[in-house]
């Protein structure tokens, strides 16, 4: 079995879930890696500290798309704090530390052996953190 390109990754990489715009978003953030061209925008609808809806748009390699897709699926229903904890766990996973309880996201564990690809997998997660660090866009205005 291919370490990096497990079926789940190919599936989510080529048919990303939660893909598309989210006009009613409260937070959004662009993730862009100019060196490899991966480029996505993440939209969140957060209400009362809970991530209600997640969408993303963009293009990139299968790893970055799959990572974003798996993340988007997983995030809905989590509180902002839970999302931040999730980020930490995924960060550990991608740095090579075995982490349990991540479900489908564990399919990304093979990436840590390919330093050049780690940033593809982390792109959407860094966008998530960026989005959450902003105050909601409604309050901004």
């Amino acid at each position: 079995m291919h370490d990096l390109y497990q079926e789940l990754i190919i599936d989510h990489g080529t048919h990303p879930r939660r893909f598309g715009p989210l006009p009613e978003h409260t937070h959004h953030e662009r993730g862009h890696n100019p060196l490899c061209g991966d480029d996505l925008t993440l939209y969140l609808k957060v209400e009362d500290g809970v991530i209600e809806k997640v969408r993303f748009e963009g293009s990139g390699c299968a790893i970055s798309m799959a990572s974003a897709s798996l993340m988007a699926e997983r995030l809905e229903g989590l509180s902002v704090d839970e999302a931040k904890k999730l980020f930490e766990k995924v960060h550990s996973l991608l740095s090579g530390t075995p982490v349990e309880g991540l479900g489908k996201i564990e399919a990304l564990s093979g990436v840590c052996k390919y330093p050049m690809r780690v940033k593809c997998a982390t792109l959407s997660w860094h966008a998530l953190m960026g989005a959450l660090e902003q105050s909601s866009e409604a309050t901004e205005k």
């Binding site: 291919h2 990096l4 390109y5 490899c36 061209g37 990139g60 390699c61």
Partner: protein, 399 residues
């Protein structure tokens, strides 16, 4: 078909490696490494001005390297400046030559297919001087629009910088004609030979450009060294680039005079071993013979172009009639980084990305491309291995 493969020690360590990334940097031949080790163990001292034996032979080897590099490119060694590589050479010309006369409103001609090394220094210079960067386009096959080039000249045109061979498309540009056209307008021209030097014969005396450059690391030689050829008439007038030891005739706090000739542009202790290794790589290729190298690589290119047709959903960019062994492509629905990663599992080394040629890759509406590039070290098995692995990519992604 691959009688020179044994000269590449990388295959001792990776017998199944299909190294198809020579355009980024070539693997090294053993004799180059031996020459450098010999320099460092038996013939080493700082060069110039040392009176003792070791310094004398090191200086002799270093200057002999200049002669050998000159011979490889059929140029006078007195016009060969050792630099870090093509990038430094182009920066040197932009700074010490073009900057001295470029005025607001002037124009510098480059092309769509330049490497960033032959874009960014001109972009910055034009920006600083409020001059205009004029970009010659190429057609769908990757052939430079020579009519557009011819028509681009006007009295404001003050410099031309064009690549000899595109590192993405493989296109061999008509350097001699490009140079003649620039000359007919009395505009100095720099030719970026980084991709040409190891693959086609380059006769600088015949081409007669104002500037020509290449990097040793793409010529089976060491890192950290390359050369810049400068036409005699410019060499005298050009102001120094970097300054310090090795390039001055005399220094006081009120007055400094610089040396003439190549050393004027070689401030500080040079990359002595690198220059000697570079020369050994040139010698190696002269021994193999450029006609052998060319026919070997052309045969492999034909084979590759034929075989790659058997992979579904590929679009090849760069179909110029006159090209070297570089094939860049996109695979429908699969990102180049995924291709390169899967090929890597099969020990096939190809490059994926923008290849330091973002304006070109973007013009093809691609986020990135996968590039296969060939060298003297390759054989048909490398290509078979690559094609097989590409078919596997197709399979994985159409599951």
């Amino acid at each position: 078909m691959s009688k020179y493969r044994k000269d590449f020690p990388c295959y001792e360590h990776y017998p199944n490696l299909a190294y198809l990334d020579s355009a980024a940097s070539s693997q090294k031949v053993a004799c180059v490494l031996e020459a450098m080790t010999k320099t460092y163990t038996e013939r080493y001292a700082n060069v110039h001005r040392g009176i003792y034996h070791l310094s004398d032979i090191a200086t002799g080897d270093f200057e002999a390297a200049r002669v050998t590099v000159g011979k490889y490119f059929n140029a006078n060694p007195d016009q060969i400046i050792f630099v870090r590589g093509a990038t430094e050479a182009i920066n040197l010309v932009a700074t010490s030559f073009t900057q001295e006369f470029l005025q607001e409103g002037d124009e510098v001609i480059i092309s769509r297919m330049e490497h960033h090394a032959n874009i960014v220094p001109w972009y910055r210079l034009c920006h600083e001087k409020k001059a205009k960067l004029v970009v010659i386009e190429c057609d769908a096959k990757g052939v430079l629009d020579m009519d557009a080039y011819r028509n681009a000249f006007n009295p404001k045109t003050k410099m031309v910088a064009l690549t000899h061979i595109s590192n993405v498309l493989g296109t061999i540009n008509p350097a001699k004609e490009m140079i003649a056209i620039a000359k007919s307008h009395q505009v100095p021209i720099l030719i970026d030979g980084a991709q040409a030097a190891a693959h086609i014969p380059v006769d600088i005396s015949d081409l007669d450009p104002d500037f020509y450059t290449a990097s040793a690391h793409k010529m089976y030689g060491p890192t950290g060294v390359g050369f810049l050829y400068v036409k005699k008439e410019h060499l005298k007038g050009m102001s120094p680039y970097q300054s310090g030891g090795n390039m001055i005739a005399s220094v006081s706090f009120d007055d400094i005079t610089y040396l003439e000739g190549p050393m004027r542009f070689e401030a500080g202790t040079p990359h002595i071993a690198g220059s000697i290794g570079f020369a050994r790589a040139c010698e190696y290729m002269m021994d193999v013979g450029m006609s052998y190298i060319q026919s070997h690589e052309q045969a492999l290119l034909m084979y590759l172009q034929e075989q790659i047709e058997t992979v579904d959903g590929l679009e090849v960019f760069g179909q110029a009639p006159n090209k070297i062994g570089i094939v860049s492509f996109a695979m429908k629905g699969v990102h180049p980084h995924d291709i390169a990663s899967i090929l890597d599992e099969d020990e096939v080394a190809v490059r994926a990305g923008h290849h330091c040629a973002m304006p070109l890759v973007k013009s093809m509406n691609q986020p990135a491309l996968t590039r296969i590039s060939l060298g003297l070290n390759n054989n048909e098995r490398d290509i078979d291995q690559c094609i097989k692995s590409l078919k596997k990519v197709r399979e994985i992604f159409s599951a």
